[in-house]
């Protein structure tokens, strides 16, 4: 009975989505406020209906109702409660239901916090949200019904892939979805602006918080996925340029560009049509990501669906969304008036170049990701585009971008004087050069040392530049300390947000370049009692134990890390539901570098086990970087001027505050 309630409310929500997409548009045409405000009621209704629907699915999972196919295929009675719940979105159908629920919640948030939005813009945006919802709810109902029943009822479920039974992965998909779906808000507002034919700085202020929130979720979501891949997959890496990773990374790149172009639009009323285009592209790429991951064109741990009809359905949705929005853009965008002139050396210009670089890198990653699919379908052959391609295209674009990141904050709007940039940055440049010489002189003068030091120097450049900017802003060393503290307190949250996000990128680069340059790997056949050495660490293989847990059996090695005096216990587990072998790496971190141990096959006829040991320098900096970037996003969101509903002045035009950056 309860799953039927879920399906019923889901079906109702399809009808509500239809009303939400059509009625406000008619209202806009006829300038009828009642019809327009119908969108509000529909959006709130949507949240209620989909929450009930989602709650019933959770109920089916918790109560292990195996008469529901989805529960039978993805759950098991012996599974811990938390993984029964996360199993809801650990599969194709459930994850899509979560997708539309989040979409509905964003729509509801517009209604709740959007009292000050222009009525017309709000109605148009909610209508677009309704259309997206319509497409996805129809997709669920017609191809991926999570409430489908099974007869006869099996005694027990098939269980969840043990790799997915993990706390990091429990929150990774919802985070990514909050990011993807969050960009739908920028998209809906962009379409609304095109319909209304007006884009101004007020529009940018409406869109900014949603975009910032989406970006923050996506950043953390990608970080979590990468962290999971590092500690759970047992291969010692954290990023493989796998198509499913790229699927989330490409919208991240364009979303990052969008955040920056929104700043230009808000402050200078410039880059209008470009910003609209970015908003459209970013959400389209989020949809493409969903398509790539869910359609089964790519096979991996993420690809739940292998039913071609689903792939075609999502492809059609994608084509309608992209085609429709770009057509509207082509018609309407040329009519947007351009204003806000600026010189080639200015804040605007630096942000524009940032955008171009981010967009270029997004395109190169996109081409590398799609090329194998295209190549196969036109008969070039089966190929794979791996990490070498991505490193080769990505790094040369990102290096100038990072250098620019250190300069940008020093450029004033409209026009900058080169001499001033030089005066502001000469200390930073000097410090950066000194730090490179220092880093390199402590290394072994090999090629990888050069690359690693160059990478770390790049981060030093960013971090020095941001610190120097901060020191300038609060007039540290110039004014009395009390005055500096006051200035620091009065500095806007969004300024802190920017500094945090950029420093986060700096830390990320330390992690990336340090771990790629100085990682060490050792594969040996080892008997208990023997020892190995890696990067100056002595590791003794003490013994091997066999364990029986409720849902798996395990072979656990005990290794003693002599210098650190810690015991490390890598495992090889055989799960019983479903039967699957997993590797549980043991990681010892000193917050600076990690020792990473994996136990492999064994025992062979001499009683030895294959052991893989990694020395992973600077890996923790990746996680610090992501955390600091996420903090930056949150700080910017809490800026007093960033409200979900910035105040409108009477004539509907934004009044840029005097003195705001």
């Amino acid at each position: 009975m309860i799953p039927e309630i879920g399906f019923f409310t889901l079906s109702l929500s399809l009808g509500v989505a239809l009303i939400q997409s059509v009625m406000p548009l008619i209202g806009l045409k006829k300038n009828n406020l009642t019809l327009m405000s119908l969108a509000d009621n529909a959006a709130i209704m949507q949240v209620l209906l989909l929450s009930i629907s989602f709650a019933t699915l959770i109920h089916s999972f918790i109560s292990s109702d195996f008469s529901v196919i989805n529960v039978y295929q993805n759950s098991h009675t012996t599974k811990p409660l938390i993984y029964k719940i996360t199993g809801v979105w650990g599969n194709h159908e459930g994850s899509l239901l979560l997708w539309v629920l989040i979409l509905a919640i964003f729509g509801g948030a517009v209604v709740l916090f959007g009292n000050n939005l222009s009525k017309r813009i709000k109605a148009a945006a909610l209508s677009v949200q309704g259309m997206i919802g319509l497409g996805f709810i129809a997709f669920i109902i017609f191809t991926s019904n999570p409430f489908e029943r099974l007869n006869p009822v099996p005694l027990d479920g098939k269980g969840l892939n043990p790799l997915l039974q993990d706390p990091g992965l429990a929150i990774h998909p919802p985070m990514l979805y909050l990011g993807y779906v969050g960009f739908s808000m920028a998209f809906s507002f962009a379409i609304a602006a095109l319909i209304e034919g007006k884009v101004d700085s007020l529009w940018a202020r409406w869109v900014r918080p949603w975009t910032l929130a989406a970006w923050t979720f996506l950043t953390v979501g990608i970080g979590l996925g990468s962290w999971w891949a590092y500690y759970e997959l047992g291969w010692g890496g954290w990023w493989y340029w796998d198509p499913v990773e790229n699927a989330s990374f490409i919208p991240w790149l364009t979303g990052t560009a969008l955040i920056h172009s929104l700043v230009v639009l808000e402050k200078r009323d410039s880059l209008k049509s470009w910003t609209i285009l970015l908003a459209i592209v970013t959400f389209s790429l989020s949809l493409l990501g969903t398509f790539l991951v869910r359609s089964g064109v790519l096979t991996s741990v993420h690809a739940f669906a292998s039913d071609p009809s689903r792939g075609i359905f999502i492809l059609i949705l994608l084509l309608i969304t992209v085609g429709g929005s770009l057509t509207l853009y082509a018609i309407k965008a040329p009519k947007l008036d351009q204003s806000g002139v600026f010189s080639p050396i200015s804040r605007e210009s630096s942000l524009l170049i940032n955008n171009i670089f981010l967009a270029t890198s997004a395109s190169t990653v996109l081409i590398g990701t799609l090329y194998p699919l295209v190549a196969e379908s036109i008969g070039i052959g089966k190929i794979s585009v791996g990490p070498p391609y991505f490193n080769m295209v990505f790094i040369p674009i990102f290096i100038p971008l990072i250098i620019l990141m250190g300069i940008g904050p020093y450029l004033p709007w409209r026009k900058a004087k080169i001499i001033n940039i030089y005066l502001n940055l000469k200390v930073v440049v000097l410090l950066t050069i000194i730090s490179f010489v220092l880093f390199f002189s402590f290394s072994n003068y090999k090629l990888n040392d050069l690359a690693g030091c160059a990478g770390i120097t790049l981060s030093a450049w960013v971090i020095f530049s941001i610190s120097n900017d901060f020191i300038n802003k609060i007039k540290l060393f110039k004014n009395p300390i009390q005055d500096c503290l006051n200035r620091a307190r009065n500095l806007r949250r969004s300024a802190y947000g920017m500094m945090f996000a950029h420093i986060g990128v700096g830390l990320l680069i330390i992690g990336i370049s340090g771990s790629s340059a100085w990682k060490q790997e050792l594969i040996v056949s080892l008997k208990p009692g023997e020892e190995i050495r890696i990067a100056g660490n002595r590791i003794i293989f003490k013994e091997i134990n066999f364990l029986n847990a409720s849902n798996y059996q395990s072979l656990m090695g005990e290794f003693y890390l002599v210098e650190k005096q810690v015991l490390m216990k890598p495992e090889r587990r055989i799960y019983n539901q479903p039967e699957q072998l997993t590797t549980e790496a043991a990681i010892h971190s000193n917050l600076w570098s990690d020792i990473y141990l994996v136990i492999g096959d064994g025992p062979n006829n001499e009683g030895a086990y294959t052991v893989r040991a990694f020395f992973e320098p600077f890996i923790p900096f990746l996680w610090y970087g992501v955390l600091i970037m996420g903090t930056g996003g949150i700080l910017s969101l809490t800026d007093r001027s960033v409200k979900v509903t910035p105040k409108r002045s009477r004539n509907n035009k934004a009044v840029p505050k005097a003195g705001s950056i």
């Binding site: 670089f357 590398g368 594969i523």
Partner: protein, 149 residues
């Protein structure tokens, strides 16, 4: 800067980015792309021993031997076989009779030096290339992929 000049400036910046991006992509395609072959393909194709490729098929039953960290086994598409050698830890789901994809170099005809055995995440999952290769050789039994759903 006048509006016209700005437009020219946009155009220039965009053009430079386009050229930069395109040249990077073309350059990286030269050696960033790895082709996939089945054992039967390899019989008929000549491949340079320093060109990195991927091969795939089933791990032939009863051919896996281990000498410390060195594994050797045969990969088959049930028509042709190829000897594969690999040093390291095999992925969790590596088993005789199961599908496998290996990346490395064909040191001489019929002998492959794998530098990486690709990890798979699911016991039901058969790499698509492998499924196709086996289908092509006419030895396909059952439909592993649709088992999953």
């Amino acid at each position: 800067m006048k509006k016209k000049t700005i437009r020219l400036y946009y155009f220039l910046v965009g053009f430079v980015a386009l050229v930069l991006g395109a040249s990077l992509i073309l350059n990286a395609f030269e050696d960033g792309i790895v082709f996939f072959y089945s054992p039967t393909d390899l019989k008929f194709k000549k491949i340079d021993s320093n060109q990195k490729i991927r091969i795939g098929g089933l791990v032939k039953l009863g051919t896996l031997t281990q000498n410390n960290e060195l594994f050797s086994f045969k990969v088959t598409d049930n028509e042709e076989n190829i000897d594969v050698r690999f040093t390291g830890i095999l992925p969790d789901l590596f088993r005789e009779g199961q599908g496998v994809v290996a990346e490395g170099y064909l040191i001489k005809p019929g002998e492959f030096n794998a530098i990486e055995i690709l990890a798979k995440h699911d016991e039901n999952y058969m790499p698509r290339e492998v499924a196709d290769a086996i289908k092509a050789s006419g030895e396909w039994r059952g439909d592993t992929e649709s088992d999953k759903q």
